[in-house]
Symmetry: C2
């Protein structure tokens, strides 16, 4: 179906530009310009100098400031994994893949922060919880940055539905996924490296249903076990790992040719003090570089998206079978359990319509 490939090219040529660069703004846009040139067009941009007035920019790179500010706060949620990959696909002992969540613990913030920057541990620590954690667990830091991005709030006509804090290190990465939100992602310390693909590239990511599982960490043995969730559950997830290991690279490239042989994703680095507008439904993969203290700190604002004609077009496109659904039938078969619901979870939209969407698409920023 060459029409889909024409669509991939059209979106790049008409709207995104062929340079492969995300547009950069030296100053925050007016609400009207942000809405007209970016949100309405579902087009990302990076904004400099939008958060210069935040005390966080100078205060948070100092771990002692953060530990002091949160010394009396209730325990925070900490995600532990053996390799930094959570909410990602990992092989089960059988060799088939499973969508695995981190082992989550709660501990005092100062202890959690030390774990993040300690590279001598047998696990990777990521302080993240996409449940509006900045306004709950981290409320002691609320005066260090704005409760919302004012020009985005005015443009979008609503306050953020969730504000999340992320403190990690260079071993943590986030696998390709999309969110049903307009996302303003402000880096406070260190750098975030994004790979971005427009929603129109959905088939290039080979979204398939995977069984869900989770890591279970034993402090006694210092070991992780990967366990399938019971009762079994399936979620649709992107199959592509954009950074395969040298040993698996050839195999991955032959499994996912639409990704590896096609247009490169937009790549951008968002530095401390910069803000990425990540439009709703864009696929993104995230890696990070730490500051001198071994931390990457960011805060993101999720605003409600419009479920409009663009969203209807996306669902239409995704509903068309093209390559990905048949590229690897054996493996698909091996992870499919006909007794389990392998339909995506349903979510009641504000419009009152039941549509299929993946609640787990919200677990990563």
């Amino acid at each position: 179906m060459k029409e889909i490939e024409t669509l991939w090219e059209d979106v790049r040529q008409l709207s995104l530009g062929n340079g492969g660069e995300i547009e950069r703004l030296e100053l925050p846009p007016t609400p009207l310009r942000f809405l007209r040139d970016f949100v309405s067009q579902n087009k990302p941009c990076i904004i400099s100098n939008a958060t210069l007035h935040w005390p966080a920019l100078s205060l948070w790179p100092d771990p002692s400031y953060l530990s002091e500010a949160l010394s009396d706060a209730p325990p925070v949620s900490v995600h532990l994994t053996p390799n930094g990959r959570a909410d990602a696909l990992e092989p089960l002992p059988s060799g088939s893949l499973c969508f695995v969540s981190a082992h989550v613990e709660r501990m005092p913030f100062p202890q959690a922060l030390r774990l993040v920057s300690d590279s001598n541990l047998g696990f990777v620590t990521y302080l993240q919880q996409q449940n509006d954690c900045f306004r709950s667990e981290y409320s002691a830091l609320s005066s260090d940055c704005d409760p919302h991005i004012d020009w985005a709030t005015e443009a979008l006509g609503c306050l953020p539905e969730a504000v999340n804090l992320w403190i990690g290190n260079d071993r943590s990465e986030t696998s390709f996924h999309k969110d049903h939100y307009e996302n303003l992602y402000a880096v406070v310390s260190g750098e975030k490296h994004f790979l971005l693909l427009p929603p129109t590239d959905v088939h290039r990511l080979y979204i398939r249903n995977y069984p869900t599982g989770h890591y279970s960490y034993s402090h006694e043995t210092g070991e992780f076990r990967l366990e399938l969730d019971k009762p079994s559950r399936y979620v649709p997830w992107c199959s592509v790992n954009p950074y395969p290991s040298p040993e698996s690279k050839e195999q991955e490239m032959s499994r996912f040719p639409l990704y590896f042989n096609g247009n490169k994703p937009f790549h951008c680095t968002v530095k401390a003090g910069e803000t990425l507008y990540l439009p709703s439904m864009w696929f993104h993969h995230v890696k990070q570089s730490p500051d001198d203290e071994g931390h990457t700190i960011a805060i993101n604002y999720w605003y409600d998206m419009q479920f409009d004609i663009k969203y209807a077009y996306f669902n239409f496109l995704q509903s068309i079978r093209y390559h990905s659904a048949v590229a690897e039938p054996e493996r698909e078969e091996s992870v499919r359990d006909s007794s389990a619901g392998d339909k995506p979870v349903s979510k009641q939209l504000k419009t009152g319509k039941m549509i299929d969407c993946n609640l787990l698409a919200h677990v990563n920023g």
Copy 2:
């Protein structure tokens, strides 16, 4: 391909509402609201009280005012047809259909205006010329209304590319088509009756290539001849006439079942003093009711549209074959001249990309 039918439903349920009513605003929206709730979502609305301050609303219903104001103006362009249908499909003597343009003459405005309201003539007169005529031929009226719609200009970030005046009567109608513009359509006197279909319904209109022709009117014989253009040229046009005659109704319904058996178009009447926001790429059919003097007067503002992800999605959808291209092969064959270019005209977009689009899609408002 049931996915396309799902798309038709999704757009109605998610974005447009199922009531089949166009949203009405009692006051002009702020630029931000107009952009967020309508332009970005490609969603029409009718705005009351947006043009109350125009002198035109009280002055133009009086034909003597208009004739006086334009008594010294250069001749204006007048479209003459035998039946009120120009830029529409008409049968050739062979029975096959042709896209026919009106006979165009230039005459002094006062004479032209009398022809519009004279129902005893053997032809139908329509003062319309979609070439920015309000700012050229009708510049003597410029102080009677705003040169642009201020809140739309601010929202869209540009001045209108064209402003057109329309003076017709109840015998003129405009066949289904779309424009590559954001359209603000302000009725000054009489009423306009629109049928509207979203761009996602493109297959329901059975767009096909038709040879172009034009009416030639002889003042001596008082007769119209329909002549094919030389050299021959083809344009893609909507095949559906939403108001077929009682004799042809059954045949039309069986030819175009996706239109006649599917969701009804949105129907709205725009009265004097009201303004329709007609989003880019929406299909529209227009009829009109006259004021007491036998005139329907309107002015429309065409603003540049964004050729963004929505436009790329539309082109993708349109490129998928579904029913319409094969529903009536014999007749298609009969109007196709293999020696002629039956490709749509190409237009150089601002993006620098050559894309197929129909320049003639601009001939009607």
